[in-house]
């Protein structure tokens, strides 16, 4: 055994990268769980191609998983990595530009053979492992394939099966490097392969081999410790955005006492919500994989009419198909939650890459005057809070509510100091009561102080009534072509949304002073990057603050006042300028757009540079 020195680090960024069949997402997820259990704060960024098995060995087929963890507050998956695990040359080529100078490269030699070089378009006379081009980095070359095969030589498994265990070697080694607990992965493997003991044992053996490799070879002079983060006291778990959204919907179902109906059609990156919800039928969760996007939302509208907590979920292209039905739900004035896990568009776009370009679609993407409530989650765990809130507002105001998330926070993970069921508010819901012949005629569009109408579900005596997409006469709900009534109804539906501002929290400053030279106004999944950028700018003496919108329609009531306290307002977005248009339109201020449209999240330093450029 060699002597290694333990070094203490405040934070580390590791990027696992390999072919899309190399199991990098699984490796990253396992490392995340172990790191969370160790008590670090963390943020992750899975970055993978749309193809399940993209062409082997090519640059297009590289799948990456980045994790940033530390003993301090971690807001983003990190701009640049300290460690790059490259399972092949394509993974190295794609990711080397974001490795810090002096950073560690763990390269799987087998992935740098002539075939891989050719597939990754490396000229024949070059080999990054030997030609000195990586001299600025700390290069560790390991023949992972060879060692894995040797470890499993007598396992009786085929070479193909054995090679699938390679990722466990790397995981074991990195666990050793960073003193991570290995038990949770052992347990995971035991559960995952409980029906195939040979594969279970093989994976465990290779995981240990990776750990032991670090322990026994002289390749690594240092091991690193990253102390648990000083986070707010409490019980934590690791959570991903889509998982949190699913739990938020279930929690709303429990707290409202209504069974949940989720009508949907598989689409990246929203499908995991369906997968998660489908597991919890014992919670009265009813999932429905429809024949298409339109049927998904329409079945949900049917369920809403029948008195269920109805939700539909998709991503941009699917939301486009649902547009007409969202208009119907708006006319019917029934509660409906529409989940949009945004991805880069238009059309099919970049299905596995993130973007925030569906805000205008949520806001205006229907025929006629069709306002709905819009909420946008800012982090993986916030998906829980806002999915719950979306249900609450839909049920209490009898109105469709958009819940916006994006591919970045949907698949990203972070520690979550989760609430207990008792901490969550109840969502009282009451259906219109039965009537007798002597009672006055039921008026389906009679409104309460929130301007919402009664929820009169079929099967209730005396409430027989007809609703539909044709314009309704206010109060009676009868079809009406009356000119003044139509204008009244358009105004009422708008006012109903506007009134929601009385039921949502006021906007706050997330970091920085209440006034200053510049306000960074963000929304959605850019929260972490903007928060980090703001703290850097403040540390450098800039009078900059950050405020992050989670309620976009209606805006919080105090937003105008909040904005007025700053000389300049900058709106960074992963689109071509959408929130900024609404802000300019609504508040008549010369807000400055800052846009990135690359299917990738903001890096904090990009934001810092941009703000400095504006201020200096």
């Amino acid at each position: 055994m060699t002597d290694t020195t333990d070094k203490e680090l405040e934070s580390v960024v590791i990027r696992f990268a390999g072919d899309s069949g190399d199991g990098m997402q699984l490796t990253g997820t396992q490392f995340t769980n172990a790191t969370a259990l160790h008590g670090n704060d963390l943020a992750t960024f899975p970055d993978f191609p749309a193809e399940i098995r993209a062409p082997l060995g090519t640059l297009a087929g590289v799948s990456g998983f980045q994790i940033h963890f530390g003993s301090t507050q971690i807001n983003t998956p990190g701009d640049n990595s300290d460690v790059l695990v490259a399972m092949n040359v394509a993974a190295l080529k794609v990711n080397i530009k974001n490795l810090k100078k002096g950073g560690v490269i763990i390269a799987n030699v087998d992935g740098f053979d002539s075939k891989n070089m050719r597939l990754a378009n490396v000229p024949e006379d070059q080999n990054p492992l030997t030609d000195g081009s990586l001299s600025e980095y700390d290069l560790k070359t390991i023949d992972v394939t060879k060692i894995t095969r040797a470890a499993l030589a007598d396992s009786g498994m085929t070479t193909k099966e054995i090679d699938r265990c390679k990722n466990m070697f790397v995981l074991g080694l990195v666990y050793w490097m960073y003193h991570r607990p290995i038990d949770s992965t052992m347990e995971f493997l035991r559960a995952k392969f409980k029906k195939n003991e040979a594969v279970m044992n093989a994976n465990i053996k290779v995981l240990n081999a990776g750990w032991n490799y670090g322990e026994t070879t002289e390749m690594f002079a240092n091991r690193y410790t990253v102390a648990p983060a000083k986070m707010e006291a409490g019980v934590y778990r690791s959570i991903m955005g889509n998982q949190a959204a699913a739990y938020g919907l279930i929690a709303a179902s429990v707290k409202s006492g209504l069974p949940l109906f989720y009508g949907t059609y598989p689409i990246t990156p929203a499908t995991d919500i369906l997968h998660d919800l489908a597991k919890y039928k014992n919670f009265n969760i009813k999932t429905y994989q429809a024949e298409d996007e339109i049927a998904g939302i329409c079945a949900s509208i049917g369920a809403a009419f029948g008195g269920h907590l109805a939700v539909t979920g998709s991503s941009g292209p699917g939301i486009a198909l649902k547009g007409e039905a969202i208009g119907l739900a708006t006319m019917l004035e029934l509660p409906l939650v529409i989940v949009n896990i945004q991805r880069a568009g238009p059309s099919t776009g970049l299905p596995t890459k993130t973007e925030q370009a569906d805000l205008m679609q949520a806001m205006y993407g229907r025929n006629g005057e069709c306002p709905v409530i819009i909420l946008a989650a800012q982090s993986p765990s916030d998906c829980f809070t806002l999915a719950f809130e979306a249900c609450k507002l839909a049920l209490q105001h009898m109105i469709p509510v958009f819940f916006l998330s994006d591919g970045y926070i949907a698949n990203g993970a972070e520690p979550w100091k989760f609430p207990s069921a008792a901490d969550l508010p109840e969502i009282p819901v009451s259906f219109a009561p039965a009537r007798n012949a002597e009672d006055a005629k039921f008026m389906p569009y009679e409104r309460d102080e929130k301007l919402s109408r009664p929820w009169a579900i079929p099967g209730t005596k005396g409430l027989e009534h007809r609703i539909g997409g044709l314009e309704k006469q206010n109060i009676t709900g009868n079809i009406s072509y009356d000119a003044a009534n139509h204008e009244l109804m358009v105004h009422l539906r708008q006012e109903k949304v506007d009134k929601v501002a009385d039921f949502i929290p006021e906007q706050t400053i997330d970091s920085g002073e209440e006034s200053g030279d510049l306000l960074i106004l963000g929304w959605g999944g850019t929260y972490g990057a903007l928060r980090t950028a703001t703290s850097i700018l403040i540390a450098e003496g800039y009078k900059v603050s950050h405020s992050h919108l989670r309620y976009i329609n209606p805006f919080p009531k105090n937003l105008a006042t909040l904005l007025s306290k700053f000389k300049t307002v900058v709106v960074p977005e992963l689109n071509n300028g959408q929130l900024v248009k609404i802000i300019r339109d609504k508040y008549f201020i010369d807000a400055i757009p800052y846009n990135k449209i690359q299917g990738q999240p903001f890096m904090s330093h990009e934001v810092v540079n941009k703000i400095k450029q504006i201020l200096d």
């Binding site: 949770s184 119907l328 079929p458 099967g459 027989e464």
Partner: protein, 341 residues
């Protein structure tokens, strides 16, 4: 004293809304027959829900004093499936037309049959787009001259019965607006069937496609052109039921009925899918020589396929029984947590 249960009347099912179909429209008869059958079903009004899409027929729910939804074009089947899945206690009816069901809503039409929720679909087939003022529909005959096809349509029509059978519908029937008794009987049969019931109703659009079904509805031609199917009875038609259908292997043939062949006639069996499929293809242009009469009645019934709403809710019940009611705290905390002090 015996308890007096007041029986509802057809009037109880009429809403206070003025019916706005064109005078002479076949929809009036269908509305009347539905309202006539409803009281016999012995259920309180509030348990009925009528859901429609868009088109002339889709105004229907407004005229029924039950729960109703006039939704968007082609989507009634999808909405109804969601409602029935979550509220199996309700009697759900879908009112649709040929365009609504087989053009814009074609996908939901076939997928509903595949799933088999226990609801009833009445397709008012007038072989024309009426609400948009006269364009050819997916059931219009090839060569149809309309405003959108001045040189005649080049599309071949759908055969709604064959399409439904092909999508594994469990109840498939055809009726017509001009035969109230038959229509009432079919509506009743549809209600009694557990599973999705599809009733195609030939409905005359007297404004844009008048007399499209005249040959099947007029006294002068009806007997020769209509084949009334009755379960367990031979397939006969003609002026004095003097013609019959015989199966020669899988090939149907028309025979003059006489004493020597009366026992060889095809006996209608609603439960036989192969035979129903053959009958569904009796879809010839009535003007062609040697054509088969058009069948009316129940083509096919399958009582052995579990309904979607049953299966959907059984899974929920089974999960609750197996795993117990959900524990929200356990769900949120997951298996792996850590404590920060």
């Amino acid at each position: 004293m015996a308890e007096v249960i007041e029986k509802l009347t057809s009037k109880d099912f009429a809403s206070d809304q003025e019916v706005r179909w064109c005078p002479g429209c076949g929809d009036y008869s269908i509305l009347k027959q539905v309202q006539t059958v409803m009281p016999d079903l012995g259920r309180p009004k509030e348990e009925f829900v009528f859901i429609s899409g868009i088109g002339c027929s889709s105004r229907f729910p407004y005229y029924m004093d039950t729960f109703g939804m006039h939704s968007i074009h082609g989507r009634a089947n999808a909405i109804a499936t969601g409602l029935k899945a979550t509220r199996p206690d309700l009697s759900v009816w879908v009112i649709s037309g040929d365009g609504d069901s087989m053009s814009i809503g074609g996908n939901h039409f076939i997928h509903m049959f595949r799933r088999n929720p226990d609801l009833n679909l009445l397709v008012f087939n007038n072989q024309i787009y009426g609400l948009t003022k006269g364009q050819y529909s997916p059931t219009s005959e090839k060569g149809k001259v309309t405003k959108s096809t001045p040189m005649g349509s080049i599309d071949y029509p759908f055969n709604p019965i064959a399409l439904s059978l092909g999508a594994d519908a469990t109840f498939v029937a055809r009726s017509m607006d001009r035969d109230p008794k038959h229509l009432q009987a079919m509506i009743r049969r549809a209600y009694d069937h557990k599973g999705t019931s599809m009733v195609e109703i030939y409905q005359n659009c007297n404004v844009f496609n008048d007399a499209a079904f005249e040959i099947f509805t007029e006294k002068s031609s009806k007997k020769e052109q209509v084949l009334m199917m009755e379960h367990g009875k031979p397939l006969v038609f003609g002026e004095n039921n003097d013609k019959g259908i015989k199966l020669d292997g899988f090939k149907p043939v028309i025979v003059e009925v006489n004493e020597s062949n009366i026992n060889d006639l095809w006996i209608h069996d609603e439960t036989d899918l192969v035979k129903a499929t053959i009958l569904s293809r009796f879809y010839d242009d009535p003007s062609t020589e040697g054509h088969f009469p058009r069948p009316f009645g129940v083509f096919y019934v399958n009582n052995n396929k579990a309904t979607f709403d049953e299966l959907f809710n059984e899974q929920i019940a089974y999960a609750k029984e197996k795993q117990g009611a959900g524990d929200l705290d356990k769900l949120i905390s997951g298996k792996e947590t850590w404590v920060v002090n």
